[in-house]
Assembly symmetry: D2
Homo-oligomer: 385 residues x 4
Amino acid sequence: MPKRKICVVVTARPSYSRIKTALTAIKEHPKLELQLVIAGSALLDRYGNAIDFIEKDGFEISAKVFMVLEGENPTTMAKTTGLGVMELTNVFYNLKPDAVLSIADRFETIATSIAAAYQNIPLVHIQGGEVTGSIDEKVRHANTKLADLHLVASEDARKRVIKLGENPEKVINTGCPSIDLAKEILESPQLDFDPIEKYGGVGSALNWKNAYIVVMQHPVTTEYQQAKAHITETLKAVKKLDMPAFWFWPNVDAGSDGTSNGIRAFRELEKPKNIHFFKNMQPKDFLRLLKNSKALIGNSSVGLRECAYLGVPVVNIGNRQFRRLRTKNVMDVNYDLNEILKATEKAIGTHHFKTSNIYGNGDSGKKIAEILATSELTYAKTITY
Amino acid sequence: MPKRKICVVVTARPSYSRIKTALTAIKEHPKLELQLVIAGSALLDRYGNAIDFIEKDGFEISAKVFMVLEGENPTTMAKTTGLGVMELTNVFYNLKPDAVLSIADRFETIATSIAAAYQNIPLVHIQGGEVTGSIDEKVRHANTKLADLHLVASEDARKRVIKLGENPEKVINTGCPSIDLAKEILESPQLDFDPIEKYGGVGSALNWKNAYIVVMQHPVTTEYQQAKAHITETLKAVKKLDMPAFWFWPNVDAGSDGTSNGIRAFRELEKPKNIHFFKNMQPKDFLRLLKNSKALIGNSSVGLRECAYLGVPVVNIGNRQFRRLRTKNVMDVNYDLNEILKATEKAIGTHHFKTSNIYGNGDSGKKIAEILATSELTYAKTITY
Amino acid sequence: MPKRKICVVVTARPSYSRIKTALTAIKEHPKLELQLVIAGSALLDRYGNAIDFIEKDGFEISAKVFMVLEGENPTTMAKTTGLGVMELTNVFYNLKPDAVLSIADRFETIATSIAAAYQNIPLVHIQGGEVTGSIDEKVRHANTKLADLHLVASEDARKRVIKLGENPEKVINTGCPSIDLAKEILESPQLDFDPIEKYGGVGSALNWKNAYIVVMQHPVTTEYQQAKAHITETLKAVKKLDMPAFWFWPNVDAGSDGTSNGIRAFRELEKPKNIHFFKNMQPKDFLRLLKNSKALIGNSSVGLRECAYLGVPVVNIGNRQFRRLRTKNVMDVNYDLNEILKATEKAIGTHHFKTSNIYGNGDSGKKIAEILATSELTYAKTITY
Amino acid sequence: MPKRKICVVVTARPSYSRIKTALTAIKEHPKLELQLVIAGSALLDRYGNAIDFIEKDGFEISAKVFMVLEGENPTTMAKTTGLGVMELTNVFYNLKPDAVLSIADRFETIATSIAAAYQNIPLVHIQGGEVTGSIDEKVRHANTKLADLHLVASEDARKRVIKLGENPEKVINTGCPSIDLAKEILESPQLDFDPIEKYGGVGSALNWKNAYIVVMQHPVTTEYQQAKAHITETLKAVKKLDMPAFWFWPNVDAGSDGTSNGIRAFRELEKPKNIHFFKNMQPKDFLRLLKNSKALIGNSSVGLRECAYLGVPVVNIGNRQFRRLRTKNVMDVNYDLNEILKATEKAIGTHHFKTSNIYGNGDSGKKIAEILATSELTYAKTITY
């Protein structure tokens, strides 16, 4: 019997961490063949060349898709997505997968969903059913309505997808594969590399060995014109805090130009001595860096998801993660220097939390592969009500 | 105070009939400015040049968008959509509308929705919340999840959109503007033109004055490889029926090539004497033609919607309208010569039905314009549960 | 030593006839590997599904590229070309050829040339250096300026490419591969099939065994609005001539909609009894059909090229072949019923001509393959003066 | 009589300087209407937001076209061009210009040329007929073969375009509009602003008032993989020279990522104290900066063109300007630290040169406008030999 061909499209750095253990499990499953497509910002040096890590991890790439239009504004974001539809349609036409996996809710993931659904290819959506702000909220639920099989990351999400009119048999809580990595880390959590030595980056040399924080703040597309103002508050807070900080550049969403410019301007003018900047890091290195930090500051979903499992205190800024499932490791604040500073000081003073399983308990990748190997794959559906 | 700019994107012949009275009402509303974009197959001679009728009706076109990739298969359908996203993004970027209207559920309407939503332009979706088969089912609900304001055509649809997690205040049953036209027709329903004289078309000269039927059957994208087989059953049934038939060419969906080829092959081989073919007709002429027919055969939503109001008997073939709201004028049959023939004979023998208001009572266009003029326009939302 | 990978892009029906023997020679050459890309109208049913013949001839297809935007006007022609650049760029990026072959002068061939040249892939241009009217004239010479190696079809063309500033060592007269096919035909020229039985087509059954003509007339892009008027003159002339005629549908250039509409309208209104229409024919069948005809009418380059070798009399209409190299088998006339009729009557009365070698003597395919296998492949050049 | 609509497409920072006086002359000409389209990197912050300067100069923008695909490699360069064809086709379709102006030889200018030529719009090419290396050499001559009217910048170029088979009446030496600006500068050449104060930029504060150099080095697309190595030689040379240097970031060609990375890496590692970096400068400010410098180092055509008129000594590195017309202010060197250093030291020790008129004498803009207003505009042509 021929293996089922499962095509996974990774369009960005964080999506790779989010899916990595599932990729491995698909690759190793006797009944599955992995077709890995790397697209969008995952190919770009400016966003940390995720593809280099992916290749180092031993994955073979079936297709590379350059589709990011420069501009980092809502207009180029939309056009990137349109181009993505065209490009990924070609890719699926050539690869003829038995199913396509679309990951989560980044703006360009709808391109994956359309290219598969319109070509009558069964579409599997990972991490649907969650709630947030930003354009991600619209994209995520639209992906759900285009998808045929839903592998969600929490019970909360499972219930929501069913409420959205999906057949309950097609909605399965596998947990989030990112938690699989977190679990592996917890087995030997010590930081076994020097971040600056290993990843270079730019900015000050830091005396980070005693204590440091991690910062990761993306633009919110629905507030993209405030991106520079928003990041500046965080920069000021972190400078004032005067603790070593490892800071990750933003992703490619509308507003990332504002965020990046805000960072660059702050660096030139304020020359902060306690911040070092990275574009990217291998998923496990990143998790170890988090685990050994005092806190994560910003608005990445990593704060709600991986950090729930790792127990790292998080200062979550603004609306990007509005209403997303979270546990007590997260403090929410506004885009405000003082709020950020106060919450961060409190977070730093806190011990790490106990592991929470709200996003899974570390076996998601294998569950996903097994479901892909055994469940019926269909491409037509009708709402349940 | 400046008028609100309302941008409406019409991408196909039937979408124009579906929205025409709303366009007029927007154009005439003192607080609104209409920006009309004509795109896709509405620009193409092969699909009946809907744009000619639109211009004759006195509408000014703000932009024309050529976006249909040839091939009539799932691959070109997806690529057409991707191209549509890119093109419509440009159009909205230049027109700077205060709101964009996306109509119903044709595959390319998601391009309108993405181009607006990703650019933070309030998106109004018309005719969401219904149920059908084909890719339309996925597209319609995805449009709902991308849209900020929902103007639906029935109570049934209103409840479904609310169940989908939309804010009930943002979901309004305006009825379907196509019913407005049907209502106007019923005031003087007689056929006041000779279809062949006025619209040309190809095929046999017909002695249609005593009795005739109308046929309109589109491919079902999720069954596109059967398109030719499916249409052939209908062709055989109509030939066997031996009553004059006015037949409309299919739309641009995946499979339309199969449908068209089926028709062409049948014409060459069987030379049916009782069928005349049209590409398009002005909306009101089309409704008068329907009203004076014995029955409508095929799978167009016109059968469930306008014909409910007009009371015309309908033989609805196959899965395209699966579960869509209908009243007793509709008989459902499979793709099968005998079933089609038997049902059609029965329909022809039936009197026309009483007017049904399930899709509105004839004032939708004005309701839509008034809501667009007065309701708050927003572009960020979160699911209600 | 690895074989040189030679990527050939076929974008239309006639380009295949034009390159077929070279494809075979490349495929069979011990030092070459053929990468065959089928794109544009060569994939479309409306234009005769050239791909079916190509696959039947035993060629393996490396990639298929849907890129034709509907509309058949200058705007869609330009957009098709832009899309072609994007698509073919992807294809070459994935196939990593050692050289790309761009054929002749159809509008979309510049897409092949740009996609190769901009990616630093050595570009070989076939059939440069000729002269004509229409947009082809601009496209052909632009292709020459983008190409690194020029395999031309005549001495006249060789001299012209050198005058254009190309290095004489990089300009080689191989003759035209279409002549190779013509030579094979002349070895057993009798018509060994019934055209209507084998190819179907539409239109009248013809009593063609005694005598017939062939018609092939394409729109001229720079006169595209006159396409319908132009074709109508020819239709009238052929009808009046009242000799059986095999007529081939036009290609996908701007204006082909006008040409097709002109033909369809004429068929409906005038119901010509002596014309049968085909979309396509296998290259050798087509040449046999030509060889056994009384004359070819229209504006195809086949009249100047293959017919020079076959000796078939040709009535060449209008500006499309303006100044292209020709021999005495060609009579030039304007778009005028009477001129066409008079010239055709004269052509029909003429014996076939002696074979002319102006476009080669039947060994082009092998010459081309040998040059591709042995000559130095470069991708940077500077004008010679 | 309606004014002739002249559509000019500016796709990059330097193209604006190159055409500015012509834009002004077109805008002010009583018989002309300017339609200014800003596209590509001229819209992007990363490349210096040329559009801001253009708007400040009082030009109204008819359309903005986002078309740059990220990646800065040959593949994205080609795809950007394809996208440009599609986008500019739309723009011309909507603006309906009487003529389109395509400027010089940047890779994306062929998109302008195709979009106009294929839509039967008369195409005017500025600065054809010159000679260089890089992909520009192919693009420039292809533009010539697509264009109908050639307004060249030197006698040398005029003769070459005629040799390329263009009708001599359609080839006019207007000189280069960039020289018009240079002439204005020479009337009051003193540096009337503080570059760092006015333009910010990044890098060291410089004590530049006594003496400084300017550096501008772009990647060579045909050598794009060496971009980082090439720029590093120049960086080392400039650091070693230890004279204040104003350095301009590279353009968007394939390899610019390598060039930019080379600069960034050098800054982090070597922390050069004598270099300050700018993204862009208003055209006249830039020329004043040049005029008051000791020398220009790099491979910009500014060195051969504007600097010929200004008399500034130039060290021209590598193949990018291979064989382009130059006068004695230019010294050619290889990508080699020592060669660059030696030549720069010699250049710094030289007095400025006398004004040379090889690229015009300062009245090009007006000449161009007058020709556009009065010459016959056509869109079909045939090679002269």
